[in-house]
Amino acid sequence: MTTVPSGAPAGALVGPAGVRATARIVAVPDGRGGTALPALESDGPLALRRLRPEGREARVCLVGAMSAPLGGDALRLEASVAADAALRFTTAAATVALPGRTGAPATYDVRLDAGAGATLCWLPEPLVSARGSDLRQTTYVELDAGARLLLREVQVLGRAGEPTGRLVTRLVVRRAGRLLLDQELAYGDGCPGWDGGAVLGGHRAVGQVVVVDPAFADRPVPARVLGPSAVVTPLAGPAALVTAVAPDALALAGVLGPVMEELGPCPRPQGGGMRHSTPTYSQVTSAAGADEAGQFAPRTAGAAGIGPPMACSRPHPG
């Protein structure tokens, strides 16, 4: 279980260094074949909205309540999926890392756990590293041996036509206490060789999709080349990783979409059109490059019944 430090702040603290905020989701079986959310705690820039459930799956969307992370911010997002519960997490828009006033790095720590028979689909929109920003992101996932996971992380280096900031991400997945994947990626100033032929070779969008499914123990996912810059690789355990690089987020989405559908445990929204849909990956990523302020109104927010955009902007440099 993800533990919450005792005495966690009730609201976001804004200090000279930046915003400190922890948001939390707890998903448990509701006893009627669905999933309840006994905790859905927003904090500061991390505003969580409940979406219409789909079958057994509870759905939560993060909408940006202010532009974040800025340099100096310390954000934390926790989700715990109890045994036999199912949670799908999305974000209404790309997350844009922006510079702060002091030049201090921002941190964004995601802590996830899922119990036996649980399914967790963690599908945030891309993380965009804006010029001059400095973000350290960590994602740690703890899975029971009987849990299933579909997790996508996408990094976009710079908004349209600008150089990237500095972005360091670490993705760690453990299953039954055993390490499945530990991968750190570092781009931008201070990361020597990041754009050379061994690391990115000029590409500006990078994606990882992790799929963990106990069924892979008997039917491992074979290694497969998906194109000139994407592969599916079986990990040393019942799991697979998709690694892809592309010139931009849109091209990357075209590679990741089909393979996620093929490998992942998450059902697609059935029928209902916009009523059930969250913004698609390509919709928001195409906007990501254009919005200077890094503010993204959730495009289908009204239709999905998640309330108006929670834009309470605060000034940011530039």
Binding site: P192, A198, G201, V206, V231, L235, A244
Partner: protein, 237 residues
């Protein structure tokens, strides 16, 4: 000079002589058959000459080079080699690269047991008959040779750039003087990476392998799988 952090060093401390034997490109451990991703990068047009070779080697050094150097340093520092082998698996998502690392580990093990016989090498060979990850074997070999964690880190980090540089000479017909100049200019960064790896290894003695870096290079993972599927190739990886 050698900071062996565990209470029981494997043998009497050794100096630069043993490190030169271990890090020599002619040490019969099979490394010459691997290009460290350079063959695929040349084919993709990402290495075309000395400048792009330097960019490639720099990126490899600071990503998988750092990760390998830290694993080797941790093994030399006395961290459990089987735990390090698992940590290496989790840091190597490409099955082609896991297979290459184990093949290289097995080959190095044979040479190492002849050069510096040790019970620790015998035990790892018995526990991983198909080969442990090469950096783990390298670190344990360094320990058997009386070398320290920083020495093991140097050997691993240097190998991670000397392999592609040597391969580029054969693949591109690059002037060997130019390739060597690339390595010479990377030497200060080699020092930095080896020092960082050795520091991480010291932490791993107390905190376990999770304290080790996991720096990765997406293109190396992607192209390793593509390269493994080529029907004809000059290098094994």
């Amino acid at each position: 000079m050698h900071t062996t952090v565990t209470a029981e060093p494997a043998g009497p401390p050794a100096g630069l002589g043993a490190l030169l034997v271990l890090a020599d490109g002619r040490f019969p451990a099979g490394g010459h058959a691997h290009s460290g991703g350079a063959e695929a990068a040349v084919a993709a047009g990402r290495i075309t000459g000395a400048a792009s070779l330097a960019d490639f080697c720099r990126g490899r050094l600071h990503t998988t080079g750092l990760t390998s150097a830290a694993l080797a340093a941790a093994a030399a520092a006395g961290v459990d080699p089987l735990a390090l082998d698992d940590a290496a698996d989790a840091r190597t998502p490409s099955p082609a690269l896991r297979a290459a690392a184990r093949r290289l580990g097995r080959q190095l093990m044979r040479a190492a047991r002849a050069a510096w016989p040790s019970a620790a090498l015998d035990a790892l060979a018995a526990a991983r008959p198909r080969g442990a990850h090469q950096p783990v074997v390298l670190g344990l070999t360094a320990r058997a040779a009386g070398l320290g964690p920083a020495d093991a880190a140097y050997a691993a980090a240097y190998e991670c750039v000397s392999g592609p540089a040597t391969a580029a000479v054969r693949l591109l017909g690059l002037d060997p003087f130019d390739a060597t100049a690339v390595l010479a200019r990377l030497a200060p960064e080699l020092d930095q990476v080896a020092a960082r790896a050795a520091r991480a290894a010291r932490r791993a003695v107390d905190e376990g392998p999770d304290a080790l870096p996991s720096a990765s290079a997406p293109l190396l993972d992607i192209t390793a799988e593509q390269h493994a599927a080529w029907p004809v190739r000059l290098f094994a990886s």
